[in-house]
């Protein structure tokens, strides 16, 4: 069977990058005893897939990885053992059973929501205003330097929902493989009219959820619609 694992990542471990997280999980999964499926050959490896890479320095309330298993019963009994293999800051939140034909985590990702905390007083004071300006504009253009030249993108099309509350910014945006929007690009679009620009350490990003689209084309959390085997209450 296929298993989807939901976990959160907070604290210093946010500095552990995506590839190192994958290596960490491979070891943790092995040590937990989960009956994971391996590829054939001289260097067998786990059939493991992470949903959406999380940037170095970003925390998350909800991350996902998928795992192919050789058994399908009693998988929930590995929930606590896997949690014990985690480091400070990593918590396994839930196990979900996927049907065999389900798309893997990475292919399913269509959106993500973020919460941004600012260290800069000026940014906080301008936040509500900038969000209102963003909402009332027809288009907010963002430019990205690529190998083939400068690429233009309308941020309004990539941002599905956005609001400010208590000096923090909340938004949901495109996170699909073809159109992933980086939080930094949105911040640039929001504050450029005010002449503000940021370094990566001027704010703090928390990813709050990763989304797929259901049959009705609505954004739903990646665990939605799958059988929950066990979860942290």
């Amino acid at each position: 069977m296929k298993l989807r694992i939901r976990f959160s990542k907070f604290g210093p471990i946010k500095y552990v990058g995506h590839l190192d997280m994958m290596r960490f999980f491979q070891k943790a999964i092995k040590a937990s005893g989960i009956p994971v499926k391996y590829t054939e050959g001289f260097s067998p490896h786990q059939v493991l897939s992470f949903a959406a890479p999380l940037g170095v320095g970003t925390e998350s309330e909800s991350e996902y990885c998928d795992l192919e298993l050789t058994e399908s019963t009693g998988i929930e009994t590995y929930f606590e053992p896997l949690n014990r293999e985690m480091c400070d800051g990593l918590t396994i939140l839930g196990f979900y059973e996927l049907p065999e034909k389900a798309k893997n985590a990475m292919a399913s990702v269509q959106g993500a929501s973020y919460r941004i905390l600012f260290n800069d007083e000026k940014a906080i004071s301008l936040l509500t205003d900038s969000v209102n300006t963003f909402k009332s504009s027809d288009s907010v253009l963002s430019y990205k330097e690529t190998k083939t030249g400068t690429k233009e993108r309308n941020l309004k099309e990539a941002v599905y929902d956005i609001y400010a509350q208590d000096g923090e910014l909340y938004f949901t945006c495109d996170a699909s493989s073809g159109g992933n929007l980086k939080p930094a690009a949105l911040l640039e679009g929001l504050f450029k009219p005010y002449g503000l620009s940021f370094q990566p350490w001027d704010y703090h990003i928390i990813r709050t959820e990763v989304f797929a689209r259901n049959e009705k084309e609505e954004l739903v959390p990646l665990y939605d619609g799958f059988k929950e085997l066990v979860s942290r209450s």
């Binding site: 990058g17 290596r23 943790a28 350490w201």
Partner: protein, 620 residues
Amino acid sequence: MRKLALSDEILMQIEKSARYIGGEKNSVMKDKNLIDVRFVMCFPDLYEIGMSHLGIQILYDMFNSFEDTWCERVYSPGMDLHNIMKEQHIPLFALESQDPIRDFDFLGITLQYEMCYTNILQILDLSNIPIHANKRTWDDPIVIGGGPCAYNPEPIAEFFDLFYIGEGETQYRALLDLYKKDRANNTSREEFLLHASSIPGIYVPSLYEVTYKEDGTIESFSPKFENVPATVRKEIVPDLNDTYYPLKPVMPFIKATQDRLVLEIMRGCIRGCRFCQAGQLYRPIRERSLETLKKYARDLIRNTGHEEICLSSLSSSDYTELQELLLFLIDECDAKKINISLPSLRIDQFSLDVMNKVQDVKKSSLTFAPEAGTQRLRNVINKGLTEEDILNGAHLAFEGGWNKVKLYFMLGLPTETIDDIKGIGKLCNEIAKEYFETVPKEKRNGQKIQITASTSFFIPKPFTALQWAPMNTEEEFREKAYQTRLGIMEQLNQRSIKYNWHDTDVSVLEGIFARGDRKIAAVIEDAYKKGCIFDAWNETFQYDLWKQAFEDCNISMAFYTTRHRADDEVFPWDFIDIGVSKKFLLREWHNALAEKVSANCRKQCQGCGAAGYGVGLYCP
């Protein structure tokens, strides 16, 4: 949640910030208010290098098993962080508590290679600890060095309060107890160091005086006080089945250079190659039992979830129960989907069978270390491997489907002639010929034989039979590498042979540090101040600055490298007793010059002296 020593601003700017956050799985947190001794263990190189080292993991495990002690880790910050710390006056910190190094009771530095010496100064400098031991007070930790380079500690002696000579598992407890007692009694730092000198294996450099002859060699080396021992005897673990072993090793977040489980199967080596320092330092030979290793392997696999395991020893083929061990591992690892990374084994039918089982023949290669191009020169260095052994092994392997061979040689060995150098090409050619004769054209499947010959430059090391040997000059080294290449190009099968060689300048410095005396410390300090750091890394090694430092300190490089040493010269490291006698080494030096081979420990005891420990597997 742990608070980090570095701000988000810094951590977001530097490379691989996960090096500096600690908190890895199996790292140990303790309440600092409930412990008596804070020890920080340092490997003076980057995190990913240091985290690959078994020795620190062993000592980390041991120290943290003491209830009154908390052992943490620190590594060299990368140059990006180094510059930020210097600029912003951020003190170097330990990974676990993130507390400044200067707050610790002990700073232990492992000395695994000579080219880390400027990094030791970096660690002290960034920690705000005076780099000269005689300037330190009780506000500074006791700085103690250990590891293979501690067997000639003299070039770095003035930077250390203490050195631990030998295997760390035996005397640290006594040292910590002494420290606790002396601190409780308000003993002075000097008194404490004096007391420490009576602990076996502990060398206190400040308690010895060196005088030099007019020619620069040592006239005398003696203790300043009556109750300080004249020699320091190496410590060893008598029984490898009854000691510390890290069954829950710290698991690095970023990929370590050696990202695998390590099973140390034995210490010591029966072979007695005359250039090899480790072969003498770790005598006498002691093995871990098969039962112990089986248990360790099972526990390690369970505790870590590692995907690969390897064996560690100086010569795994000589482990008496190697077949049983490998068969066990193959079974166990196959079931648990773990890769076995094989050590370089002597090539015979058994090792080929094993290799066939655990690796892809098409991708893996055979490794031979003939070290010299002719039998004559191999006799000089007492390398038992013959051309016949190599060709027989290669023949078997070619029949089994292998077609990649790696060969390791040294250039600059004593008595070497142009024939020995040309012999390297000839031997490679013979192996290629063996391939073409063994594997008929229709069975080659379009594959070619690939032979890779690598040469390094011979560096005489303390406590070897060749410690008396002069080292070649840079020009000689370069010429010899060139001649090796020509010799290979002359061969019929030259197109099957690839040749790699090492840089000459790093070898020269390594040669100086290896056999250096106390006068070298000034050069190391000067070089660090000029900007030398991470000398083991090609991209940061600055030979011009080093040469300038030697010149400015008025120290001759040739005195340490190319100079001929008399049989009765007093060496800077003579006060250390590794169990192997200087008399034996001198006899071996003369045997080398006479091209006389000595039998290995298993065949016949050569009376090296290590039998004095009373625990050697083959000792009488």
